[in-house]
Amino acid sequence: MKYTEEHEWLLVDGDVVVVGITAHAAEQLGDIVFIELPEEGATVSKDDEIVVIESVKAASDILAPLDGEIVEVNEAIVENPAMVNEDAEGEAWFFKMKVEDLSALDELMDEAEYKDFIG
């Protein structure tokens, strides 16, 4: 698994990348009550604001971690946002994207680096 400074995790699965938020991020956000996901088929650029998460505390954006195309979104978390608090790094993935250049992942943090990053 790879991690961004925006507290996303990325997992390569065949020719797509699965993206979610880390358990640390979910805990910081608190109880999540609303999620808006991008459209399937949307072309996104790195750092586009493509997901909105609302917790009981506040609204936050999730940025596209890489350039690519959204190929699938997880409607289950839209129906039941609390899933993200329960299983952020498992069942509660956010979207899958197809990226041109998988080598872009090499620049992201690995688990040990992310742990250091969140201190």
């Binding site: 608190g30 109880d31 009550v33 609303f34 808006e36 909105v52 609302e54 009981v56 505390k57 506040a58 609204a59 609390a82």
Partner: protein, 376 residues
């Protein structure tokens, strides 16, 4: 910037795993380990213990010895009937300014030879200065600094408190009584700000930890932070000072006319005589230009404070804005309160909130969002 103050329960909050945040000049628990949602639901299902020691406790004693003199003096600052407040009873009030705006909202209790006021933490210094400036001839004004304040709220509150203070079971909503207990003299009111039955307990500062621990020893009682306190009061349709009401909102605009008894309205025995009376009583007759309403967004996106409201998905000019908004854990939906032009304030009207550039529909809804369960 001055250092943040701590309440007498600071160490206990930390021990209980609270996340502490700055609030109104104090370091206060915003949530404990279970989080806002679970804390909210626990309060509605059992009982929640809240540290509200940051709030101001003030005693007004009549210099004449006649409580009516203190009541009449306080009536010069609030549009509320204090004279008719019976011993052992409490009521909601607000300090108004000359424009009819609200300086603070507060509780006023009649405790025999004095009035006992509980005011908001963020306003307490100004409130006390205001009282001293206007009431010093008639009253001794004493800020109580050697007492803490707890709120115990929820359906299990009575049983939990009665285990230590049996007499509280006989109290009804807005009753106030003093009990001599193992925790010293407790000034108890059957009230709160969650829409639940429950109590607010003024306790000697040196006994607050012992009382809090004794209440928390009851398995029905969990500590609850400010996050859940906010969602509970929002579901109950109660105003948060500085958000839903402030110096720019009148009690009529804020839909708080129920707090202004007939005796203080036009034609009443002591009509007017409070700051902003002309403006406020005028709005009783002619209506206020805007009104505080409840809003239920039709989708799942919360409409938070500041969200602009429109009467049409394409309208150019807003008709108002949200003043409090979020997710209501018990109603299981987003809820908001805000002000809209009075002509567009009737229940069932669909208006639009602008969230992240999109106009989303919301229905104007009667408050509270969840019926209160006070013991009347």
């Amino acid at each position: 910037m001055t250092a943040l103050q701590r309440t007498g329960l600071f160490d206990l909050h930390v021990e209980l795993g609270a996340k502490m945040v700055p609030f109104a000049g104090y370091e206060m628990p915003v949530q404990y380990k279970p989080g806002v949602m679970k804390e909210h639901l626990h309060t509605r299902a059992a009982a929640g213990l809240f540290d509200v020691s940051h709030m101001g406790q003030v005693i007004l004693r009549p210099r004449s010895g006649d409580l009516a003199d203190a009541a009449l003096a306080l009536e010069t600052l609030v549009p509320v009937d204090i004279l008719a407040l019976k011993e052992g009873r409490q009521r909601y009030a607000m300090f108004t300014n000359d424009a009819g705006g609200i300086l603070d909202d507060l509780m006023v209790a009649s405790r025999g030879d004095h009035l006992f006021l509980v005011v908001n933490a963020a306003c307490k210094a100004d409130d006390i200065a205001h009282l001293r400036a206007h009431l010093s001839d008639a009253c001794e004004i004493e800020e109580i600094s050697d007492r803490a304040l707890l709120a115990l709220q929820g359906p299990a509150a009575e049983t939990a408190l009665a285990a230590h203070v049996p007499g509280v079971a006989d109290m009804k909503f807005m009753d106030v009584r003093t009990f001599d207990t193992a925790f010293g003299a407790l000034w108890v009111s059957r009230s709160g700000y969650t829409g639940e039955d429950g109590f607010e307990i003024s306790v000697p500062a040196d006994q607050v930890v012992a009382l809090a621990r004794a209440l928390l020893a009851d398995e029905a009682v969990e500590p609850i932070g400010l996050g859940a306190r906010d969602s509970l009061r929002l579901e109950a349709g109660l105003c948060l000072y500085g958000h839903d009401i402030d110096t720019t909102t009148t009690p009529v605009e804020a839909a708080l006319t129920w707090a202004i008894q007939k005796s203080r309205r036009t034609g009443g025995a002591r009509a007017g005589g409070f700051p902003g009376a002309a403006q406020i009583l005028g709005q009783f007759d002619t209506g206020a230009p805007r009104t505080r309403v409840g809003l239920r967004p039709e989708g799942r996106a919360p409409m938070r404070e500041g969200t602009l409201l429109f009467d049409d998905a394409n309208a150019a000019d807003p008709i108002g804005a949200v003043t409090s908004g979020g997710f209501g854990p018990s109603v299981e939906a987003p809820i908001s309160m805000g002000y809209v032009a009075s002509g567009q304030a009737s229940d069932g009207t669909i208006i639009y909130g602008e969230v992240r550039g999109k106009r989303l529909p919301a229905v104007i809804t009667a408050l509270p969002f969840r019926p209160a369960t006070y013991k009347r």
